[in-house]
């Protein structure tokens, strides 16, 4: 397995290089990091900045400069904020990480519960209701759901119950004046809810489907025929096997989530990876964007690899080649 992992990591290097080069070139071709300076009354401001940012060199030379620094641990400087890129990425990734961890944790628990319940009670009223809610969750745009959630779970309750502040907060992940886990939790509920609605809907469908497959398997029928109790059949035999496809899907989804949750982060003013991407793109900040791409692509590759490894661990019949 180790040689398989090593080979996969080796193959991912050219992918990262190509992705970073394409993005660097595309950003340089389409965004001008000196555009903001055109509002300056100083006619030389733009030309000075172009020289200082090295924009007068060919794009390939600019990329080489960036790459040689990157491999030596120097991720460069943001052209818009003049901050070092590494702390910028680290800060944004930490915000996204918090959202993703809580979101995935809650989504996984609820999606598995809903999926298993729906499969075990197939075609019951509850199954139909949960299926309908799943489709509703899948169809609901996060930006709309987020704003509705703010209105109905934060703003209106304050008015209805005459509270001095909203029961749930929706700006950032903590208050300046009120620290502690309670405050943190009150900030987390709405963004995590917005994030999880679609994930729960999607994962619960996978779980239901794979659980139904498992429940119709010969080994389940055999276990039942042998008189194994129903609960034991469901959880010991069917459930463990039904988890395998979901774990794979989860690993792939988490990898993609590392790139940030653009809409959720925007609505709830969370400075995560999604917002960093949008802000950097609009500023034409190639150094930050390329670093963002490398981090995100690495995450996707890592979680793809993790999905394969987990698949192997959960299902010993699978062999790597």
């Amino acid at each position: 397995m180790l040689s398989y992992v090593a080979r996969r990591i080796l193959f991912s290097i050219p992918v990262l290089l190509i992705a970073s080069f394409l993005l660097f070139t595309a950003v340089r071709a389409t965004f001008d990091p000196t555009a903001r300076l055109r509002a300056s009354r100083d006619p030389e401001a733009v030309q000075r900045a172009r020289a200082e940012l090295g924009l007068d060199k060919p794009v390939v030379a600019q990329y080489q400069d960036w790459l040689s620094g990157f491999v030596r641990g120097d991720w460069g400087e943001s052209s818009s904020t003049q901050e070092r890129v590494l702390p910028v990425i680290r800060r944004a990734a930490w915000h996204t990480f918090q959202l993703v961890v809580w979101g995935v944790l809650i989504s996984a628990i609820l999606a598995v519960a809903v999926g298993v319940f729906s499969a075990v009670r197939q075609y019951s009223i509850a199954d139909h209701a949960l299926t309908g809610m799943s489709f509703l969750g899948l169809a609901m745009p996060p930006f709309w759901f987020g704003l509705i959630a703010i209105q109905f779970l934060a703003v209106y309750p304050r008015d209805w119950f005459g509270l001095t502040q909203t029961p749930l907060f929706f700006v950032g992940l903590r208050s300046s004046t009120n620290v502690g886990f309670g405050d943190y939790a009150r900030h987390l509920v709405l963004p995590v809810l917005t994030l999880t609605v679609q994930i729960i809907a999607s994962w619960s469908r996978y779980q239901r489907s794979s659980m139904l497959d498992a429940l119709s398997g010969d080994y389940v029928r055999t276990a039942r025929a042998k008189g194994v109790p129903r609960r034991r059949v469901i959880f010991k035999h069917a459930f463990r096997n039904a988890l395998i496809p979901l774990v794979t899907v989860m690993a792939l989804d988490i990898g993609a989530l590392a790139g940030g949750l653009v809409v959720t982060e925007q609505i709830f003013s969370i400075p995560g990876m999604g917002r960093l991407f949008v802000d950097s793109l609009l500023e034409g900040d190639a150094n930050v964007l390329v670093a963002w791409t490398v981090v995100t692509a690495t995450s996707v590759i890592a979680f793809n690899l993790l999905a394969d490894v987990l698949y192997r661990l959960l299902d010993p019949r699978i062999r790597f080649s």
């Binding site: 000075r48 904020t81 943190y184």
Partner: protein
């Protein structure tokens, strides 16, 4: 490893992860009390005010090329950097007044060279109790005029020397006359930097916690918030609030929700349609201030170097085809602005403006027919003007996604259609429009705002031929309309260096009139400023078009 061992490790890892996330939630919030003293007014003392901020600056190096962001300067720079002059309301207009940094107005000598002498208040000091001296003036000039990565050297590049031989007197000698010395130099949007605390302006990139104003920075968490506390060593009146938190909320809908939900107590939204609609619908518990006395001027700009707008008769006909009041009324009647502006000079500079220069351009089909006829256009069977087989069709560019501008364009399209013109809408990303297409002249008509960066007319910057962007000058300069009129070069050029203010005002007015005759631009509205505050906030809440809405925050208090 046995199975239970492995499970224990998983449990341990899970516990560590959960604890680390819980710890993140319990992290340092840094609630430092810093109660102000020397308070004379009735506003209550103490408390924390939370304000929603739509934008965050790129850095706190106001003179650096990462500077130039209004929001950050209004909420941090203007409150912490000393300045020689401030822009303050005087009756119905604004004027530059010396601040308490000076003992009185600076003295101006105009001959043989322009020399300005600033007498510095001996009580003025930095937050570390070091006096503010002429060395700080000299340092600021040297940094702007000679430093690297500077946003705008305008004005400072006209200075020949700063004499700092007397600590309380800064004598500034100019190489050539510079009229806007009061509000651009040693204040403006840069402030004065402390020579004893800063070696190079770029050190301020990530913020600074010294101050020469009523507030100082407590902390700045990028992307999240920046927090100010009173500067207890400020020589003037000290703030009443314990702390002011500026929370970054970039989404306008979320910003209004946060204000309505009480999560923030003040917001300063851009005058977009949804903001105006929300205000029109009513915001309980809110005080709203609107003003059309701003430094902004939204206008239809016409590219005079490209057909069809290279023909003055065509431009004149278009100007007589539009009822601009209808547009402004539709956009801003909710905040009390119903009339189009009639001058290219910003509303806050009314003493310099010929306020009815463009008033003649009202919808008048007779004048449209006359102007188009002069250039040989005739109306086709479809009611559209045509000449030599070509229809009178042109496009307008603006920023994509801006609902206010999109609506403006749609109304314009209707108005022009009835006058015999086909208008197509071709909106662009802001970066492409301002970074590439306007500088390169790749447009026919464009809709955008000119924003005043100092309290002095900058019409030469926009309409003098020396400021036309060209390949030769690297597409620098802001004369996007390619206006090339010797009379304007002379008039607006003179305003830049005219030290006699009355003469400068008269000259600028003549320039406005000349520009109206040339009609390369058609002013539309002043983009009103909107400040919404909770009724809990008491004190002198007053918007300032240059120093921002929070410049009097030292006097604000918060009712329980």
């Amino acid at each position: 490893m046995t199975l239970p061992d492995r499970r224990r490790r998983w449990h341990l890892a899970t516990l560590v992860l959960v604890l680390s996330l819980v710890a993140a939630g319990c992290g340092d919030g840094g609630d430092k009390k810093n109660v102000a003293t020397d308070v004379a007014e009735d506003a209550p003392r103490g408390g924390t005010l939370v304000i929603g901020a739509e934008q965050e600056g790129k850095c706190a190096d106001w003179m650096g090329s990462c500077g130039g962001a209004s929001w950050m300067f209004w909420t941090y720079g203007a409150l912490t950097m000393p300045r020689a002059y401030s822009v303050e309301k005087a009756g119905n207009t604004f004027e530059a007044k010396p601040t308490s940094l000076l003992t009185g107005p600076a003295t101006l000598v105009t001959s043989p060279k322009q020399v300005v002498t600033y007498n510095i208040n001996p009580q003025a000091k930095w937050s570390d109790n070091t006096p503010i001296t002429s060395k700080d003036f000299k340092f600021t000039w040297e940094q702007v005029a000679k430093g690297d990565k500077i946003y705008d050297r305008t004005g400072y590049d006209k200075i020949d020397s700063v004499d700092d031989s007397k600590p309380n007197v800064a004598v500034v000698t100019f190489k050539e006359p510079y009229a806007d010395w009061r509000t651009t130099l040693f204040g403006g949007s840069f402030g004065i930097y402390p020579a004893h605390l800063v070696k190079d302006h770029s050190e301020l990139t990530d913020g600074y916690n010294w101050s020469g104003g009523p507030w100082k920075l407590d902390h700045w968490t990028r992307g999240t918030e920046w927090v100010l506390v009173p500067n207890t060593n400020y020589w003037g009146e000290k703030p009443k609030l314990d702390k002011v938190v500026f929370k970054l909320i970039t989404d306008t809908s979320a910003e209004f929700q946060a204000f309505k939900g009480g999560e923030v107590q003040a917001i300063y939204p851009q005058p977009q349609l949804d903001a105006v609609d929300q205000i029109s619908a009513g915001l309980p518990g809110a005080k709203a201030q609107y003003t059309d006395q701003t430094g902004n001027s939204e206008a239809f700009s016409m590219n005079t170097s490209r057909p069809p707008f290279d023909d003055i008769n065509f431009r004149t006909a278009v100007a007589y085809s539009i009822d601009r009041d209808v547009i402004v009324n539709r956009l801003f009647s909710g905040v009390g602005v119903t009339k189009a502006i009639q001058t290219p000079t910003a509303a806050i500079l009314s003493p310099f403006a010929s306020t009815s220069a463009f008033a003649k351009y009202k919808k008048d089909m007779g004048k449209v027919n006359e102007a188009m006829g002069k250039s040989g256009w005739t109306k086709g069977s479809d009611g559209i003007w045509e000449k030599g087989g070509a229809k009178a069709t042109f496009s307008i560019k603006s920023t994509v996604g801006n609902k206010r501008r999109e609506l403006t364009e749609q109304i314009l399209q209707q108005e022009l259609k009835t006058a015999g013109f086909n208008l197509t809408i071709d909106n662009q990303r802001a970066g492409d429009l301002f970074g590439d297409q306007l500088p390169k002249g790749d447009f026919q008509m464009a809709l955008y705002a000119n924003v005043l960066t100092s309290f002095y007319p900058s019409n030469c910057n926009l309409y003098c031929s020396k400021n036309i962007p060209t390949e030769a000058n690297g597409f620098s300069g802001n004369n996007y309309t390619r206006t090339r009129v010797p009379e304007l070069d002379s008039l607006y050029g003179k305003v830049e260096s005219e030290l006699n203010e009355a003469e400068a005002q008269a000259t600028n007015k003549k320039g406005d009139d000349a520009l109206a005759n040339h009609v390369s631009v058609l002013p539309l509205d002043p983009l009103p400023n909107i400040l919404l505050t909770s009724t809990k906030i008491v004190g002198p809440v007053a918007d300032n078009p240059i120093q921002g809405p929070f410049w009097t925050m030292w006097g604000w208090g918060l009712n329980k």
